[in-house]
Subunit: 221 residues, 2 copies
DNA sequence: TCTAGGAGTTTGATGAGTCAAACATTCCGC
DNA sequence: GCGGAATGTTTGACTCATCAAACTCCTAGA
């Protein structure tokens, strides 16, 4: 089994390379996600290479091997199932489960994971709308787009939120912008850099475009 | 926060010194419980001393300080609440939760722990009958005794099982010897070194005395 | 094309955690 | 009370994970 640190790096590399839009998994970015200095990340990435989990060449982007991708996928699966379990069964708030899952993801056995998965009815996404890779490491490919790409007047359903920050999540919940909610795009003001949204059954609110970009939606009718 | 290793040592020292009957927490015993060599345990116990968590003198028994006892108590509380949660809510078998809790006990936040404790109704003992220290670190003092100390013909209730081994626990469950069950002591043969028990509603069975000693009971009527 | 500053690397250090092997002490059984 | 077995300690070595500081490389803009 990989150490806790190795699992965290793998997860960081996977999310950087496949979740962020075309952003390479560079040393500095990996370091930022994991929360270490770039020199530390360089050292660790070399270890991942030696272990056959990643490919690394000096000054180049880091890529996972099939083995590394598989291992990273497993960590992501554990993380997200744990998050959903904590919200659904234990009753924690969606703003606090990320930090909790960050540690628990390393301590869950396959047996326990499967039990949680079963209790939750084999879910496909976590409380933030992040897709849960299946037990074979395959992940959903349907990618929702940022609400800022919607035309004014359009309706959409919140699919996913790309920011795990507790305050942001609490703000969204108060505004009614949680995954599954229908929302109308009232107006987009590119000069002011703002977007006005009206979640179904709630009062309208205005967000800055960079912030709103972290809210992904699927078109609705 | 203490590291995972430190927490494991603290827990080992606490259980050795207060759970086992008058058995000192010696280096070799600590090493055996934690699963390391005695030389490693020596090194670590010195660190615990430096950190103010234990008192250590060469060739002497290791004792926890108040601070160390408190920290160890917290680990034990987490361990046992997690075990009960896994049996009661998640539905795992009492023979598999110990290994699981051994890792999870280091990854549970105070917030999550309290939530689990609340879901379980503030329990006082875990699936094996081990007492759960309260949030202030205090632990039950009522100590049940080994069933081997009962007089032949006596009735008792299983209170606690001192062996976390999966096979032993599965055996006990099949025999009907789980905490809370009433059991009659049919006979004790000190020559053969065996004891015959009849759990309520089950068929009688014979155990060796050393094995039976790990089953603690409270007298019943 | 040159170059400044950002990105990445190397080096040297540290602490945690571990082991094996050699050594020291303690404690029992005779 | 002695000597060997059990127990505990020290030493030297190793991996993992991390940082700061000094260095190197790369590239985008002047
Ligand atoms: Mn993590
Ligand atoms: Mn999530
Ligand atoms: Mn543990
Ligand atoms: Mn237990």
């Amino acid at each position: 089994m990989a150490t806790e640190a190795v699992e965290n790096y793998l997860k960081a590399i996977l999310t950087l390379s496949q979740e962020s839009d075309a952003a390479d998994a560079t040393i500095t970015r990996i370091a930022a996600v994991v929360g270490v200095t770039p020199s530390t990340a360089t050292t660790m990435v070399k270890r991942l290479d030696r272990a056959g989990l990643a490919r690394y060449e000096r000054y180049g982007a880091v890529r996972l091997t099939a083995k590394g991708r598989r291992a990273a996928s497993d960590v992501l699966r554990r993380h997200r199932i744990v998050e959903l379990f904590l919200v659904q069964i234990v009753g924690l708030d969606w703003s606090e489960v990320h930090a909790e899952a960050e540690r628990l993801e390393h301590a869950i056995s396959p047996r326990l994971l499967d039990r949680l998965d079963e209790m939750l009815g084999r879910p496909r996404s976590d409380p933030h709308g992040d897709p849960i890779p299946d037990a074979d490491g395959r992940s959903d490919h349907a990618r929702p787009g940022p609400i800022t790409a919607c035309a004014p007047g359009a309706h959409a359903a919140v699919a996913r939120v790309l920011d795990q920050g507790a305050e942001f999540l609490q703000f969204l919940a108060r505004a009614g912008l949680t995954p599954g909610t229908r929302v109308a795009v009232v107006a987009i003001d590119s000069i002011a850099g703002s977007i006005t949204l009206k979640p179904e059954g709630r009062t309208a609110l205005t967000l800055s475009l960079p912030v709103a970009q972290r809210i992904l939606v699927t078109p609705a009718f």
